[in-house]
């Protein structure tokens, strides 16, 4: 009971602190902008810890954050190996293949209205194929190692990037296009000097959606066959062994990697589309 009360207390305190911070005079400082979500996250973790202790939750159902932390600290080399297998091989390679394929198809589709009209709905249909159905097929075709994971990821990220790129390529206004026409510019100069740059904000939108999909795809695909390494393998195996602290340690790594990937893409976006009003 003590723990539960304490949990409520901490929750209230965290919220109050955040209220003060975000409505206070220093609200615009970068440090505060980082502190507010950090406090929010920390509150959740502490409340979780206290709840687990207070209600004596069985660790095979929900482990305490401290034991997850201990796993993170102890199993560094396993986590790193899994990270390399799943993120650096499966997710990243798949992401790059998917993105390149999406650009290629987008540019192809963009050359004719007819193709665009045909490819987008069909692409949408493909994107609706659920991963639990496609992953076993791709594992069957490409084997259990990371290649099939990369393929699953490529399939998953393909559509959001395609749609956004196609939309972006259409985004130039008539005046910008007419300007190119007055220069008697051909297709490729127009593409590289006008349409791709102006499509960049859209493309990054697709690329950012892709980052979280890539990680999830790579992990989930490992459920359907994998070598004995990888984050999805570890999650499923540890879960079967009721080592839930290890499962959560992998989930934390996944969330960190996903957020870092997303953050990195946001950073690149800021650098590349610095000119867009949303970035100024």
């Amino acid at each position: 009971m003590m723990y539960v009360l304490l949990a409520f207390g901490i929750w209230a305190a965290g919220w109050w602190l955040n209220l003060r911070l975000s409505n206070g005079s220093s609200a615009e400082l970068t440090a505060v902008k980082i502190a507010v979500p950090a406090i929010f996250g920390l509150t959740i973790v502490i409340v979780w810890e206290l709840m687990v202790r207070g209600f004596e939750v069985n660790p095979v159902i929900l482990p305490a954050p401290t034991s997850v932390l201990a796993r993170l600290a102890d199993e560094g080399s396993i986590l790193w190996a899994d990270f390399k297998q799943t993120v650096l091989k499966g997710a990243l390679v798949g992401y790059i293949i998917g993105a390149i394929a999406a650009f290629a198809v987008a540019i192809l589709a963009d050359r004719s209205e007819f193709l665009t009209r045909g490819i987008l709905p069909v692409g949408g249909f493909m994107a609706a194929l659920p991963i639990v159905g496609t992953a076993p097929i791709l594992v069957k075709w490409l084997g259990s190692d990371w290649e099939s994971k990369a393929a699953v990821v490529a399939v998953m990220v393909f559509f959001p990037i395609l749609v956004n790129t196609v939309a972006g390529l259409k985004d130039t206004n008539a005046m910008q296009r007419d300007l190119m026409r007055t220069y008697a510019a051909g297709y490729w100069p127009t593409l590289f000097k006008l349409r791709l740059p102006s499509a960049a904000p859209f493309i990054f939108n697709g690329l950012k959606i892709g980052t979280t999909l890539a990680l999830i795809g790579a992990i989930v695909a490992e459920f359907f066959g994998s070598p004995t390494v990888g984050m999805g393998f570890r999650i499923s195996t540890s879960f079967g062994q009721l080592a839930l602290d290890m499962v959560w340690a992998e989930i934390v790594v996944a969330a960190l990697a996903g957020s870092a990937f997303y953050g990195a893409m946001t950073w690149v976006e800021k650098r590349v589309t610095f000119w867009h009003p949303s970035q100024r």
Partner: protein, 261 residues
């Protein structure tokens, strides 16, 4: 007529847009002859076809009837020969390029040797009084400066014809006065042929050697006024009786065109 050469010559020009609400006669039976070195303004109420006419000259729109030549050839051939620079109503600079980068854009596309770029950019920036802003991005400049940069962009490849569609429409009167003065200087110095669309009577009168008054539905030319003002025009000329007389004639022409709505 014999001395100066015809640069743009339209004969019975027609253009009908097919829209969902039926055909729109944007241009009907338009005849016009623009000579080398002319500064021609087009004025008229909204929808009278000023933009359309300019776009036909630029081969951005295909006429549905009549004839038009630019530099003696079809507009398409002229466009491919990069015979003109076009300035749009909004500056339309590419926001991801610096001012210098924007001005270099046509040079890159037209394959002007890299070695000449710097010099040309510097020259046109000076013409529009923007030296020193080469490395700024468009949004770091005021609206008037952006518009001047877009004029510099149209000048950079040194076409003989300048087509300008309400280039100063979005600017305030003071800045506009100033740009008008500069444009006149530029025109005098470079001897370019300029076709200029505007909504402002004083602007049209102040700038032009020839004012074309247009009227809508169908879009047509209702009056062509040859200016009697000297080429040398201080801003004060706008308060002279001669200026006011021309302005009055333009206003009358406009009102006549408007009344049949």
């Amino acid at each position: 007529m014999s001395e100066a050469q015809s640069v743009i010559r339209a004969k019975g020009l027609d253009l009908t847009f097919q829209t969902n609400d039926g055909p729109v006669h944007a241009l009907k039976g338009v005849d016009l002859d623009i000579k080398q070195g002319d500064f021609v303004s087009f004025i008229g109420p909204s929808g009278c076809g000023k933009t359309t006419f300019l776009r036909v000259m630029a081969d951005l729109e295909q006429p549905t009837g009549g004839e038009i030549t630019v530099n003696g050839v079809t507009p398409e051939q002229a466009r491919k020969a990069r015979a003109y620079g076009y300035v749009f109503q909004a500056a339309g600079l590419y926001p991801w390029r610096t001012i210098g980068g924007n001005i270099r854009l046509p040079l890159e596309i037209m394959g002007v040797p890299k070695s000449e770029h710097a010099e040309r950019v510097a020259k046109v920036l000076e013409l529009v009084e923007l030296s020193g802003f080469e490395r700024k991005f468009p949004w770091q400049l005021s609206g008037g400066m952006q518009q001047r940069a877009s004029i510099a962009r149209a000048l950079s490849f040194d076409a003989d014809i300048l087509l300008m569609d309400e280039p100063f429409g979005a600017l305030d009167e003071i800045v506009r006065d100033h740009l008008n003065e500069q444009l006149l200087h530029l025109w005098e110095r470079t001897q370019k042929t300029i076709a200029f669309v505007t909504h402002s009577i004083p602007e049209a009168v102040y700038l032009s050697t020839k004012i074309v008054v247009m009227s809508p539905r169908p879009g047509r030319i209702t009056d062509v006024i040859e200016s009697t003002l000297p080429r040398e025009r201080p801003l004060e000329i706008r308060e002279s009786p001669e200026f006011l007389a021309i302005a009055h004639r333009v206003r009358e022409g406009l009102r006549a065109g408007h009344s049949d709505e």
